[in-house]
Subunit: 176 residues, 2 copies
């Protein structure tokens, strides 16, 4: 059983990760530990107390981020209220969010090591495995693999800030 | 009027560039000056005689490469024999080839400077301006801009060797 102190530590860790994920989503490459500390009204030193090195913090952020996407895609896939088209459209957005955190831009900016890169790829593959049967409903296996190449490429371009979003999404929607 | 010697020099330069473009197309990132010299059965020193620095050689290679693509796209657009669909399909390939030489992978591998990068972008924009009215025939202006984001992204992914080609092309064909 958790002691009272252990409980306090795990709540604090959870809050740091939750805030970090929100911050990361909102700020992207502008995210920093200073920003996170300020948002939580604690010092960076306190963050380091809970997460002794950047890799551990990054790994937990990635885990929480992708757990959230897994949950969202499972909900969408199980939904009784959405049409097939709406489901696919929402799942496209989930996949977009999974590409967001699995990019050289991010890894390089925050100097993340190969373990994190590998972990992010693995989680993204997991999301694709879960959602591709829905997205590829009207496609054969090779076409579904091609769809992923197209989505990966287009989403990376969008995330590099080279273009507006909605129009690209709706054009991509014609593929599924 | 060109003297006999000037004529000889310009023929030699042209042959070097032509061979370099072929080599580049075939070998991509494996291209090297050693390879070019060997193929032409001349020494690297001879190449340097005609092209005193790498930037000059690179610029001429890029110019010849994109001139070739401009010519090909003009021919396709003017063709009386191809159906609209065939034209668009062929133009997709031309655009793919224009992305091939305008990528960080290439610029970094050969240590090419910003002038070359800017030149390649400008030529690629020129190709897009020429072919997008055909590719975007069934699209509005925003959709056509989105199409470019998708093609840029998908073609870069393909060129990173992360996937087979034909299937992706045919799926992209559904967008136009």
């Amino acid at each position: 059983m958790e002691t009272k102190n252990e409980k306090k530590v795990s709540i604090m860790k959870e809050q740091i990760i939750k805030t970090a994920v929100e911050c990361m989503k909102k700020e992207g490459l502008k995210f920093s530990l200073d920003m996170l500390a300020e948002k939580m009204k604690i010092s960076k030193k306190t963050i380091y107390k809970y997460f002794p090195c950047k890799e551990i913090l990054a790994r937990e952020i990635y885990q929480a981020y992708y757990d959230g996407l897994d949950k969202r895609s499972a909900e969408l896939l199980a939904s009784q209220h959405l049409s097939e088209e709406e489901k696919s459209k929402e799942l496209l957005s989930v996949y977009f969010e999974s590409v967001r955190m699995n990019r050289d831009d991010i890894f390089n900016k925050f100097n993340l090591n190969d373990l994190i890169r590998g972990y992010a790829s693995q989680r993204q593959n997991g999301i694709w495995a879960a959602i591709s049967p829905q997205l590829g409903k009207s496609l054969n296996a090779k076409e579904t693999a091609s769809l992923r190449v197209i989505l990966d490429g287009a989403f990376e371009k969008m995330l590099q800030g080279k273009s507006g979003g909605e129009e690209v999404f709706s054009l991509l929607g014609r593929l599924i």
